[in-house]
């Protein structure tokens, strides 16, 4: 056998090995693939199907109808969508403003303190979600702890009516989603090269300038990740406004849930509203991604 033949046969053998490995991979991933297709992808097809059916009090009538979409385009649900969008945006912004200093402080602590502080941020997170919301009701209610304390201190003359307002919703939203903002910010700031900051200040930049020109741009990835992690679940929130808010300002998550659960049900409209929410999320993600890419490309151009 000459040399080229040997190479050819070894590459045939290699090809065969690659093929066998590929089959093995398909086999190993088959259960997960099957599961995700059947219980994640297919359900969305059902949502699309149900969105063009005729509503019924209990379930659906299998008769084609575009009524749900017509209703949406007529603008019946603009207000809940607007409220949800505003809530998600506000929650994200407040979490960012409050979370950044916290993440920064943790990232600049000593190694020992870093671990302790991160665990301190995570512990409340381990308490059941519903229970944490419930305890905010106790705290904020009209004859609740906060009002008692403020009245006793003489800071207010009559109890503040916070519960059942949008303020209560915002407070609890920030409470629930703050760790989702702090942790990605922390992991990015922690890896930041702080000698750049010193260099900027040596070159005459003041604290504020150094922060806005160096630290903030370098932690952009954490800001994007944190914002996505807060904004998306915030947009679909149901239980927080349900337990803290009032029935005069309904959010889209509440409308969808009512239409699925409460009789008279309307599954087609719930499906169509879910799809609209999906489109909004896709749009927000695309805009963020485009913005992110744009900055990346600009950075590369500057580097040239």
């Amino acid at each position: 056998m000459n040399r080229s033949q040997a190479i050819a046969s070894s590459s045939v053998l290699e090809q065969r090995q690659i093929k066998a490995r590929n089959w093995q991979s398909w086999l190993l991933s088959a259960p997960s693939l099957f599961w995700l297709i059947l219980f994640f992808a297919v359900p969305y097809l059902i949502v699309i199907l149900y969105s063009v059916l005729t509503p019924d009090i209990y379930e659906v009538k299998f008769a084609f109808s575009l009524g749900s979409y017509r209703e949406i385009f007529r603008g019946t649900y603009w207000i809940p969508f607007f409220l949800s969008f505003r809530l998600a945006l506000l929650t994200t912004l407040i979490c960012l403003l409050v979370g950044y200093p916290v993440a920064y402080l943790i990232a600049r602590s000593s190694e020992k303190w870093k671990n302790i502080l991160v665990v301190l941020i995570i512990i409340p997170f381990w308490t059941n979600f519903i229970i944490r919301i419930f305890s905010w009701r106790i705290f904020l209610s009209t004859n609740g702890v906060m009002n008692e304390v403020l009245l006793a201190l003489g800071l207010i003359s009559s109890p503040l009516e916070i519960i059942r307002t949008d303020w209560a919703v915002i407070i609890v939203m920030v409470y629930v989603y703050l760790p989702y903002m702090i942790l990605p910010l922390y992991s990015v700031i922690e890896k930041l090269d702080f000698s750049l900051l010193d260099a900027a200040m040596d070159l005459g930049a003041n604290e504020r300038k150094a922060f806005f020109k160096v630290t903030l741009p370098l932690s952009r990835e954490g800001i994007f990740a944190g914002s996505i992690l807060v904004f998306i679940p915030a947009l679909g929130t149901y239980i927080i406004p349900q337990l803290m808010g009032n029935q005069n300002s309904l959010y889209i998550g509440q409308i969808i849930t009512y239409k699925i659960k409460n009789i008279p049900r309307n599954w087609p409209i719930a499906s169509a509203l879910s799809l609209v929410m999906l489109i909004i999320i896709a749009a927000v993600l695309l805009i963020l991604y485009a913005f992110y890419r744009h900055r990346q490309i600009r950075k590369m151009d500057e580097a040239k």
Binding site: Q24, S32, P101, I130, I256
Partner: protein, 260 residues
């Protein structure tokens, strides 16, 4: 004062306020679980009676059993599937890599409510009665993405030299898997299982859409109790749950030390 100092103090103030903000609800739950009053908000005196009432409540016992049953089974299945998928994804020339990765990451980009709605409609379409099985399926579905990603990230930092050495010495593939690969990725598997377990314990919204009547988990029971206004025992229940998670965390730390 130097500006440096001012910024640092500002950060420290915000940090302290955030910590107070994060711990207020937990403190309140614990304190008020011992409060001898029908109205939740007023302090009337110390009592253990809600803890006693709690242990007499059959509904809570049942909900607790359901929660643990679902959490354990969903954790086992989603972790096992996650290990297999992560091993499959390890192959860089796997032709389905991109497809599976996309399918794993997309659920993380969706609000829970959409998974709840879509699964509820799927079960209706298939004429499957909602109950334990549907809740189990739903929990595995939202845990799966996390387990795959956690185990995969462990495999990525995997040092292949030990596997190659074993192969050179003539070890069989299954032996290599059991004796070398599995122990090395064990930390990833434990982390994934713990994450799945906590996600399952904590879930409200997906369970709310897929449980139907008669199969309550603890979060579902608590929400119902808040809605009905029968809330006196909830503080005690919450305190026990907080204690339970803290014990779980402590045990985890021990287990981690034992393993790694």
């Amino acid at each position: 004062m130097k500006p440096n100092k001012i910024y640092h103090n500002l950060n420290l103030t915000i940090f302290t306020l955030v910590m107070v903000f994060l711990y207020i609800p937990i403190l309140i739950l614990v304190v008020f679980s011992f409060n001898d009053s029908k109205i939740v908000a007023n302090w009337q005196g110390f009592t253990f009676k809600y803890y006693l009432l709690l242990f007499k409540n059959e509904q809570i016992k049942l909900a607790f059993e359901h929660t643990i049953l679902i959490a354990v089974s969903a954790t086992v299945v989603s972790t096992a599937l996650g290990v297999l998928a992560a091993l499959g994804l390890e192959n860089k020339r796997f032709t389905g890599k991109k497809f599976l990765t996309t399918l794993v990451y997309i659920p993380l980009m969706m609000p829970d409510i959409l998974m709840g709605v879509s699964l509820a409609l799927l079960f209706n379409f298939l004429r499957v009665g909602t109950g334990m099985v549907t809740v189990f399926i739903a929990h595995v579905t939202f845990c799966l993405s996390y387990t795959v990603i956690v185990i995969q990230s462990r495999l990525e930092g995997f040092d292949n030299s030990l596997v190659e050495a074993a192969m050179d010495l003539g070890a069989k593939p299954w032996l290599i898997f059991w004796r070398i690969k599995l122990p090395l990725i064990m930390p990833g598997i434990v982390a994934a299982a713990l994450l799945a377990f906590t996600l399952s314990l904590d879930d409200f919204i997906v369970t709310f859409f897929t449980s139907g009547r008669g199969f309550d988990t603890l979060p579902i029971y608590v929400e119902g109790a808040i809605r009905r206004g029968t809330i006196t025992t909830i503080n005690a229940l919450s305190t026990l749950m907080i204690g339970f998670t803290l014990i779980l965390v402590a045990v985890t730390k021990r287990v981690r030390k034992f393993f790694f």
